[in-house]
């Protein structure tokens, strides 16, 4: 059995999702690193921060959708396991901090290549984000509807990390 040729890409994944738990409602947001591995006819995305999640598809948009679904599923499973917002926030932070070191090393190597070659996200149909790409993470308890804002709504989005 031989592998198909894979091209790796460093992505930034912006994610936000409301999560209903046992007596609480939370809004989870993060900006994480994702390793993309592209082959003929498909793309596979593996989380670096958070690690332990992945999703694939025939192209970047479908793979991004699958990864977002995977992350949401994990958050829903965490919510089902805990009885309070505090426990949920603690468990989600542990999930987010669990870095996939091997995927992270490949991500860093891919970013070095992208920067050296001056590649932009246009080649992949993605936006390009420049910068240090520090991982960011936030869990907010939504206590009253008055806290909600329409700008808190957005679909998960991936961009090339340059």
């Amino acid at each position: 059995m031989s592998d198909t040729t894979l091209t790796t890409w460093p992505l930034i994944f912006n994610y936000r999702c409301p999560v209903l738990g046992n007596g609480f409602m939370a809004l989870v947001s993060f900006k994480g690193r994702v390793l993309a591995e592209q082959e003929a006819g498909g793309v596979w995305l593996s989380g670096v921060n958070p690690g332990g999640v992945a999703g694939g598809g025939c192209d970047f948009p479908s793979a991004q959708t699958e990864l977002g679904r995977c992350v949401s599923d994990v958050l829903f499973d965490i919510a089902a396991d805990v009885e309070s917002f505090g426990a949920f926030a603690h468990a989600v932070e542990a999930f987010f901090r669990e870095t996939d070191q091997a995927a992270g090393a490949l991500w860093t190597a891919a970013r070095t290549r992208v920067r050296a070659e001056g590649t932009t996200g246009d080649a992949l149909g993605l936006e390009t984000q420049y910068g240090a790409h520090e991982a960011q993470f936030e869990v907010i308890e939504m206590q009253v509807p008055a806290q909600a804002r329409p700008e808190q709504n957005y679909q998960p989005m991936a961009a090339l990390a340059a």
Binding site: D3, T4, E39, G41, W44, G52, V74, D77, E98, A102
Partner: protein, 84 residues
């Protein structure tokens, strides 16, 4: 092997038994979680139509799982030959 190739789950169980002894496999409501080495891979889908048991898994998930749990890739390749 394509990342979307379907692998028999029995192969993965065999690989884990030898390369990640003591690993556990827990079925949650939405995903299956595999724990080993103080780490958790939470991404294994339940299967078509939410079935609690599935007989195959995408090769991409196996690659991600091996990396994330820090399983020796040479050991994993003995059971499921692909680059990790």
């Amino acid at each position: 092997m394509s990342q979307h190739s379907q692998l028999a789950l029995e192969l993965v169980y065999e690989m884990l038994e030898h390369c990640a002894p003591g690993s556990t496999w827990e079925t949650k409501k939405h995903r299956q979680w595999v724990r080993w080495n103080g780490r958790t891979y939470r991404g294994v889908p339940l299967g078509p139509h939410g079935r609690r048991t599935r007989v195959t898994i995408e090769a991409g998930h196996v690659r991600s799982l091996v990396r994330d749990l820090c399983i020796d890739p040479k050991c994993a390749a003995q059971f499921i030959p692909m680059s990790y």
